[in-house]
Symmetry: C2
Subunit: 372 residues, 2 copies
Amino acid sequence: MPTPFTTQDFADRMTRAAQAAAGAGLAGLVITPGPDLVHLTGYQPTAVTERLTALVLPTDGVATLVVPKLERPDAEHATGAPALQLADWTDDMDPYQVLRPLLDPAGRYGISDSAWAMHLLGLQAALPGSSFTSLTSSLPMLRAVKGDDELERLAAAGAAADATYQAILTVPFAGRRECDIAADLAARLLESGHSQVDFTVVGSGPNGANPHHEAGDRVIRPGDTVVLDFGGLKDGYGSDTTRTVHVGADVAEQVREVHEVVLRAQQAAFEAVRPGVACQEIDRVARAVITEAGYGEYFIHRTGHGIGITTHEPPYMVEGEEQPLVPGMCFSIEPGIYLPGRFGVRIEDIVTVTGSGGRRLNNTPRELAIVQ
Amino acid sequence: MPTPFTTQDFADRMTRAAQAAAGAGLAGLVITPGPDLVHLTGYQPTAVTERLTALVLPTDGVATLVVPKLERPDAEHATGAPALQLADWTDDMDPYQVLRPLLDPAGRYGISDSAWAMHLLGLQAALPGSSFTSLTSSLPMLRAVKGDDELERLAAAGAAADATYQAILTVPFAGRRECDIAADLAARLLESGHSQVDFTVVGSGPNGANPHHEAGDRVIRPGDTVVLDFGGLKDGYGSDTTRTVHVGADVAEQVREVHEVVLRAQQAAFEAVRPGVACQEIDRVARAVITEAGYGEYFIHRTGHGIGITTHEPPYMVEGEEQPLVPGMCFSIEPGIYLPGRFGVRIEDIVTVTGSGGRRLNNTPRELAIVQ
């Protein structure tokens, strides 16, 4: 178990977030339940419901967490609670009127991406002179640069995912359904210390050509190419890795070729990682390799996404993202080629930016493994 | 297994929703992943992420489901898909520009309560002349009146929850932790046909005074009052019932008194259910009983919430909700009294409105049961 985060850790994070908000010209932040609230306060309500919970973090002044009264006892137990004020509201009150005096009536606020539209509309009505912008627009890198205590957790999650991959190579594939392999992956992720399994993609044969195919009833056969993409949370931080394997040693020429192209694209993108390089450059490098090999139209998603206390967060490695890489950022590099009706190949590692380049948090062989 | 919903069922629901939207003066609806999308199309993406998925349902014209391209194969398999148009976008596109031509630039739209603020802000920017209102504000009763096929599922979920309660009365309580009883509840919900357990509240002794306490390490003792509130989904529809039990037959006078007050409040509220009565009246009736008994300040939440494909949805039985009850509505009646530091009592049934009154979907005894 890593050392738990302390109240001081959360206080420091709130201070840094308020400074970043000021730097972005904001009057403050409005944070609703989800990863930003966990990051800043350690608080996660049992369930996200229609009842408003919101942290108002002004750039100058005291942070206030507004909660439904019946959830106040839980909120009081959050590690970050001593570093903020608590306020509550009951079902006979208008929660937006409770938030109103905490906000500058002419201020611009960053609001959690996943705040409910219902709550944003309530705030817009209660504060017609205020304006709102999503955190991804205004402060996308709020959680993007990880501290050493977070990198330690992400590396441990990556190592656990690697152990899962090594273990899955030893199970039989041929004659079993995708969902059976998915269950094996889930069991091994839990055995390796994950508290939560978020996805276990097993895309065999033509199903591998659907990047977000999960796992179905298809029976895997000798000669199938199988995309394995799995991850979850370990000690609160995410894992996410993909390898493509082949059932039996009789590999079709085009499978070999496509896999080799994806491998080169993934390696080239990894080698492009260094501080100051724009995120979109990582995407361009991977895409160039695949396009030059003639498969550009079959690489139908961005090259990567950030990872931390969620498995999808900024920074995104995508055309148009000009954010420069900063040491401590963590993200996936996961180029793929998807030939409709035939097969798919994807290779994915989590990578963190160091002072001079990149470091992989997944370190299993990337070559096309043969399974039985 | 109930008969699955058909493409025609979803087409009919979309038609009714478009008519309701027109009746509310809207140009249409913008529905993002979650219960409204499941209700209207049967489609639920594997995960709700930052990538926009949205159904645009105009009051006149064809419904269009906009999805990320890599999720299109999944969307095509939704039962409702043949009843709508599909459109997709790739990571190099602005999804709000994909939605823009589908919306009236001067229209007013109802948007899913839980649509991400990020997406609403994107739509507001792309369509500065359009306006948006949450479905709870503009069309709160979209899913509130259940069809017979839905009532059948809710009744079956209620019966399964009842079986769970009857079973839990036979397990030992004294000397075991709350979380052990919670695990028993979860196992019995699954045994009784639930596919998903959403909550298993076990609030023993002073923990019962926190209405949203889940279940912790506290060891239950003879003389404890224990609030048991549990539910989940069975065949896609929710259960939610609460009973308060006592460990051993030696019941303190005030526990008996408080339980009797809550029982009377719950019964009175149930008897008030009939078509045309305002939702807030159900809350008032329950609250009046508790207030007259001198415990008004300890009933710290609304009296109930709707239930369907989610366990919390309109209609809400709360002061200020003037919506009249309509046959087919389903909701909880769950008054409670919470004495801080001492104990809590709550009694909850799901009730549906009939042509002339109410019908309970939970039918286990409501009296204070004695457990060992």
